[in-house]
């Protein structure tokens, strides 16, 4: 068998920091590399791992051929774990002493010196102007600073716990396996329904994925605790999409939603303007919109007959049809065309900016008169999103924002 290499850089950390110092101060940015792995968990934090670790095979007799092979991996692991524990113990002791010293320096009671006091003291004694907070000196519990240790993936008998251990990405692939079998189950029930001629029952059983999206690659990595690449992520999404597109996907709604994140529904709630009721029961909602440098205040009255007044003029305020079409969109999506009256005060900017500002304000004002699903529809159409583009400034040495001066060699 190959000589075991230490997979953790614990040792390196040890050598890299100043040994036996009075103040346990670590410049944490040096250890960022060691923190980089997400898939680390402190051994003692996992109950299984803890048990596994501390039941050392002391009672084992002379190992058989099988036992020898196993214990090699396990023994190596346990040696490393013990070294880690010893080191951490020493570090903790060091930290406690350092803390008392610090309290003395600061002239406070060492027994009631909390972590907050430590932070304050460090900031006072070692002021740092570094921009990145991670780069500033810290003094913290060693368990927070040193990288955590990964739990063993296999038992004492040397058999891995996971049946897809050898694929390197067991969690990821077992999720794919789960999706596949869920899809198979759906297909089976679909076939059965087809055979029994109960197709009408399938209506409306598909899962509506609107207002949510697949979790990101980074989130998937964190969830799986595995180093998943983009290609594998795409594969995952493809497979999930296949599950979602099945007519009976609603049955697996809970499973699907585990892997999706919903999109800012709460923001929508706060954006709905208040409705004022005027005399005669006419409702009025006011909202503002901006685009480029234009600002618009839009008042929407319901019920109405479709009148549109912009700065005291009707739609002839915009001679070009393009801008009228811009205004048309929110009314179309909310299906309120011809059912509301609109009054607009708009200022600054050109026609494009003004039309865009009115559109945003109108969309926001219309939220007061529509149902939730229409709100969602409007959000998906992009009506409630502010266009953040602005005029780009002119740069010195250039003709405009991007355009360069004409350059001729000679």
């Amino acid at each position: 068998m190959m000589a075991g290499i230490s997979p953790w850089t614990v040792k390196a950390v040890f050598n890299g920091t100043i040994p036996s110092r009075r103040l346990f101060i670590v410049f944490a940015n040096k250890h960022n590399l060691d923190f980089g792995t997400n898939n680390v968990a402190r051994l003692s934090s996992t109950p299984d791992g803890n048990d596994r670790l501390h039941t050392a095979p002391k009672t084992q007799n002379k190992p058989t051929a099988k036992a020898v092979t196993i214990s090699k991996a396990m023994r190596a692991y346990m040696e490393q774990a013990k070294a880690y524990d010893d080191k951490m113990k020493a570090e903790v002791a060091d930290f406690e002493i350092g803390k008392r010293h610090l309290a003395n320096i600061m002239g406070e009671d060492p027994d009631s010196f909390t972590q907050a006091d430590v932070d304050r003291a460090i900031e006072y004694l070692l002021p740092s102007g570094l921009y990145d907070k991670k780069a500033r000196p810290v003094m913290k519990d060693p368990y927070e600073i040193f990288p955590k240790k990964k739990a063993a993936q296999f038992g004492l008998d040397g058999r891995p716990y996971h049946w897809m251990y050898f694929t390197i990405l067991p969690n990821y692939y077992s999720t794919l396996y789960e999706i596949t079998w869920k899809l198979e189950a759906l297909k089976d029930s679909e076939d059965q329904m087809r055979a029994e001629n109960r197709l009408d029952e399938m209506e409306g059983q598909s899962f509506n994925t609107a207002s949510s999206e697949w979790i990101s690659l980074q989130a998937l990595k964190t969830r799986m605790v595995e180093n998943i690449k983009e290609k594998e992520y795409n594969h995952f999404v493809t497979l999930m999409e296949r599950l979602v597109s099945h007519p009976l996907s609603g049955r697996e709604q809970n499973f699907i939603m585990e892997w999706r994140v919903s999109l800012q529904a709460e923001e929508l709630e706060s954006a709905v303007p208040e409705v004022e009721v005027e005399e005669g029961g006419r409702m009025c909602a006011t909202a503002t919109g901006t685009r480029k440098s234009s600002n618009a205040i839009v008042k929407v009255y319901k019920p109405g007959s479709g009148n549109f007044i912009i700065n005291g003029k009707d739609l002839t305020y915009f001679p070009q049809n393009l801008y009228r079409e811009t205004l048309l969109l929110p009314l179309m999506v909310s299906d309120l065309l011809g059912k509301v009256d609109t009054e607009v005060d708009v200022e600054l900017g050109g026609p494009t900016g003004q039309a865009g500002a009115i559109r945003l304000g109108l969309s926001r004002a219309l939220l007061a008169f529509v149902e939730d699903d229409v709100k969602e529809k409007m959000r998906l159409s992009g009506l409630l999103t502010k266009d953040p583009r602005k005029r780009e400034r002119k740069k010195p040495g250039q003709q405009g924002a991007r355009r360069k001066f004409t350059w001729k060699k000679r």
């Binding site: 068998m1 190596a76 296999f154 040397g158 050898f166 694929t167 692939y173």
Partner: protein, 278 residues
């Protein structure tokens, strides 16, 4: 090398009562296989050789000794797991195991196992397949019986979920996903621990794509892991320890193999439990 075997032989000859007790304990009704039937054995285990080796071997611990004796006694049995009853020639035929690939795709190393070509399609000689299959199943059973890890490998998309489910249900391991180069040979850096290897790799199809041999075949061979492989007429037989010539594409055939392996592994585990092997 043959120390343990020799040891057992010695014990079996010198202390027949011991063995008979073992036999009774484990209900070994069948007669112990006569050593003289296996020519290889007789040639390897020459007395002189045996004497030399036996000197170096320290006296084993009594507990281990019993275990080894139990294990080795099962090896004397010709068909300890009853694999001969699992499949007949007719079953193989019905499962379309005989159907090979187009003759143009034939791998030269497969030629001894091919019965003939019917209308441009190779037909595998099932009379050769059957004993090979039985031997492979027997070996699988013994390795499982001894607590070995079994890894199922396949790159056939059509049966992929079934193979994985099989492995999961059996408490064994599967690898039907893209093979990362060095999964065996570079495992310490890929897994971050000391390497763990399966004791047996079962390839339900030794091709990765249509044109490539599965990389696991080579890696297993390098790391001295025995392999059982279903080899079709377009596959290379040589790197496989226990090749089973047969159709590796039809779902019917693949499900048939899976059924066989499932049966034998379950049986081996059952026996292991009954025999109290640890």
């Amino acid at each position: 090398m043959a120390a343990s075997i020799g040891k057992v032989l010695l014990r079996a000859n010198s202390v027949p009562a011991n063995l008979s007790i073992l036999c009774r304990e484990h209900q070994l009704t069948c007669s112990v296989r006569s050593l003289s039937t296996s020519q290889r054995w007789t040639s390897r285990i020459s007395p002189a050789w045996f004497q030399q080796e036996s000197v170096q071997v320290p006296t084993p611990h009594p507990a281990t000794d019993t275990r080894e004796a139990t294990l080795n006694a099962t090896l004397q049995h010709e068909d300890y797991f009853g694999v001969k009853d699992l499949a007949t020639l007719r079953d193989l035929f019905n499962a379309r195991v005989h159907l090979g690939h187009n003759s143009g795709l034939r791998h030269p190393s497969m030629s001894p196992y091919i019965f003939g070509a019917r209308q441009g399609c190779d037909i595998i000689d099932l009379e050769q397949t059957l004993p090979l299959l039985q031997q492979a199943l027997n070996v699988t059973g013994h390795i499982v019986y001894r607590g070995g890890m079994v890894l199922f490998l396949s790159r056939q998309m059509q049966v992929l979920p079934w193979v994985e489910r099989l492995a999961r249900e059996l408490g064994e391991y599967s690898h039907c996903r893209p093979w990362q180069r060095g999964t065996f040979t570079n495992s310490s850096s890929l897994f971050g621990t000391l390497p763990i290897y399966p004791e047996l790799c079962i390839f339900l199809g030794t091709q990765d794509t249509v044109f490539e041999t599965h990389r696991g075949v080579t890696e297993a061979s390098k790391l001295l892991i025995p392999t059982v492989g279903i080899v079709d007429t377009n596959c290379d037989v040589d790197p496989i320890t226990y090749p089973v010539p047969g159709n590796d594409d039809s779902p019917v055939a693949l499900h048939f193999y899976m059924h066989l392996f499932r049966s034998v592994i379950l049986k081996a585990k059952e026996k292991r439990k009954a025999d109290g092997v640890k």
